[in-house]
């Protein structure tokens, strides 16, 4: 596999750096070329890679690094720390409404895993002592409401539906009232997948947002996404103002460079990762693990 040979190469370059008592600018340039290739092969966005590499280069060429006793190790550490720094940051936890009733709105491109992740979140919240309810606002995809109902049944969480209503904002608003009335403390709203360039459907989400004022708008992103991840993320964030990201399908061999790219263009934290199709396959996000995954180490 191309992946392995690349990370082997990277390891090799790092090893070489480690072994050196003295580092020249040329050594660093060579290492940075390999880092750049590794990041591109891991699907990190082109512009993000360019900025990243020049930031690392600048730090590495500082006299405190070059004149230190272990310059190679310092460079490796800079690469790692920068990656973690880019992906981490404050507030990667879900925030709950101080009033006691929290609304989560799930949005994203088609097929990224929104409906499944609704079930996973409901399951997670239940385990944390919350009383969640689900709400079906995908009025387009064939059997989308059925799907959420099956999901709800599987995790034993009620699902609010209005099968004859063609206005998601009305469905969501009604669900909020119903959930509050019945004593639920979290409402998770599933929405149809859509392209960020589909103006009519993006407007629909804006209406839903206005109607229910969610505490968290969570963008669901497929970890296998390539260079387009930034376009989608920026599109959703510009239009809606997202609060966080859930990265799905990390159970395969996708390197997940999309995570770095999405974090970088939106500045919003990654809150959870999806690691399987079952409803317990949701984990909190660890920036350090993601950094090594992206670099293939």
């Amino acid at each position: 596999m191309a992946f392995e040979s690349l990370s082997d190469k990277l390891q090799g370059v790092f090893k070489k750096l480690k072994g050196k008592g003295v580092l020249t600018e040329a050594d660093i340039n060579e290492a940075m070329r390999e880092v750049k290739l590794a990041l591109l092969e891991a699907d990190v966005n082109f512009k993000v890679v360019k900025d990243f590499v020049s930031a690392v280069k600048e730090k590495s060429l500082g006299s405190d690094v070059l004149e230190s006793l272990t310059p190679g190790q310092q460079v490796i550490k800079i690469v790692n720390d920068e990656l973690v720094g880019l992906m981490g940051g404050a507030n990667s936890k879900l925030t709950y409404s101080p009033r006691g009733f929290t609304i989560l709105l799930m949005v994203g491109l088609q097929g990224t895993g929104k409906t499944t992740t609704c079930g996973k979140l409901a399951n997670y919240l239940k385990k944390n002592g919350k009383k969640p309810m689900l709400c079906a606002c995908d009025i387009y995809r064939p059997a989308a409401i059925d799907q959420l109902e099956v999901v709800g049944k599987t995790v034993d969480v009620p699902v609010f539906t209005m099968r004859d209503c063609k206005e998601p904002e009305v469905i969501a608003e009604t669900a909020v009232k119903e959930a509050e009335l019945k004593g639920f403390d979290v409402l998770i709203v599933d929405t149809a997948g859509r392209l960020q360039i589909d103006e009519a459907l993006m407007e629909e989400l804006v209406r839903v947002k206005k109607a229910i004022k969610p505490h968290e708008i969570l963008l669901v992103v497929d970890a296998m996404t390539g260079q387009d991840a930034v376009n989608a993320a920026a599109g959703f964030d510009d239009k809606l103002g997202i609060d966080g990201v859930i990265m799905t399908k990390l159970d395969g061999d996708a390197r997940g460079g999309a995570a770095l790219s999405v974090k970088q263009v939106t500045g919003k934290p990654i809150k959870f990762i999806g690691v399987g199709e079952k409803f317990d396959a949701l984990e909190p996000f660890h920036p350090e693990r993601m950094a090594s995954r992206i670099l293939g180490m």
Binding site: A2, G113, G119, P142, Q147, L195, D222, M224, A254
Partner: protein, 277 residues
């Protein structure tokens, strides 16, 4: 107004176009290497000439001639495979619609018995398009669904049977074994039928698509790719790497969620599309 001259900056820009459309680094280097040579040998001097040249190099990599066409023989069994959420079920609905319009009889097999309401989703597509769907209850053995569908297709002399399968990540051994079993059942129960195995790839996918083509290709004989979601901003360039490395032809592209949003693949149009804003 004179066009730009051909310089390093232009070549770098074109390289960036290739990388940002998800073409892998190796293929990108190969394309740019070829371009440099052609610029020199053919004495290309304008930006326009260079852009036309690079589009035709890309076209050369992705053009698989007659292999882009779907098999015309009947009876035909099409097995749709791919990772989760790529657009298998939707593409089946679109394909069924196309075949029906071509005057063929079509039957669908709901062999995704795993995902919540996958059967219902396919049944709604069947209703929408006007074709029958064979399905079992959730959790049933997918091979049993395919077995039943084959018997039904034979009895009714159906032209084309299309089998939906559950999305699966290509590194999951047990799920790949399950797929292998479905594939074998078709060969054993319906040897007289012609076969197509279509790998459904989401155009937003990055480098992982190469691993998908490799792993799915190891357990089935992939006859073509359906590249979905090209109506978005993703360019789907990774199929160029795949066509280059595995010689797999793209057969159809998906350009929306409606039943008419499927088009036959056109290599020249696709290659040109990479360089249009």
């Amino acid at each position: 107004f004179l066009g730009r001259t051909v310089d390093e900056e232009l070549l770098e820009e074109l390289e960036e176009v290739l990388i940002t459309s998800d073409i892998g680094m190796d293929t990108t280097m190969k394309i740019i290497g070829q371009l440099r040579e052609d610029v020199r040998k053919q004495g290309l001097t304008t930006e326009q000439q260079v852009k036309e040249r690079i589009a035709s190099i890309v076209e050369g990599l992705i053009d698989k001639g007659e292999n882009h066409q779907i098999c015309q023989e009947t009876p035909l069994v099409i097995l749709m495979i791919g990772v989760n959420g790529g657009g298998k079920t939707t593409s089946i609905g679109k394909l069924a619609n196309k075949f029906k319009q071509d005057g063929k009889s079509v039957l669908l097999a709901a062999a995704d018995t795993f995902r919540a309401a996958a059967g219902e989703q396919l049944e709604l597509w069947g209703e929408r398009v006007g074709v029958n769907v064979i399905s079992h209850h959730e959790g049933a053995d997918p091979s049993a669904v395919i077995f039943d569908a084959i018997q039904s297709a034979k009895a009714k002399k159906t032209d084309i049977l299309i089998c939906d399968t559950a999305g699966r990540i290509q590194t999951k051994k047990n799920l790949m074994v399950e797929l292998e079993k479905m594939n074998k059942i078709i060969g054993r129960e319906y040897p007289e039928a012609a076969r197509e195995t279509l790998l459904v790839l989401d155009a937003t996918t990055g480098k992982n698509a190469v691993s998908q083509a490799k792993e799915f290709g190891e357990i089935t004989d992939i006859t073509g790719i359906v590249l979905t979601k090209l109506d978005g901003t993703a360019k789907g360039g990774i199929v160029i790497t795949i066509a280059d490395e595995f010689n797999m032809p793209v057969k159809f592209i998906g350009i929306g969620e409606g039943m008419n949003d499927l088009k036959e693949f056109d290599p020249a149009e696709f290659a040109g599309g990479l360089f249009n804003e």
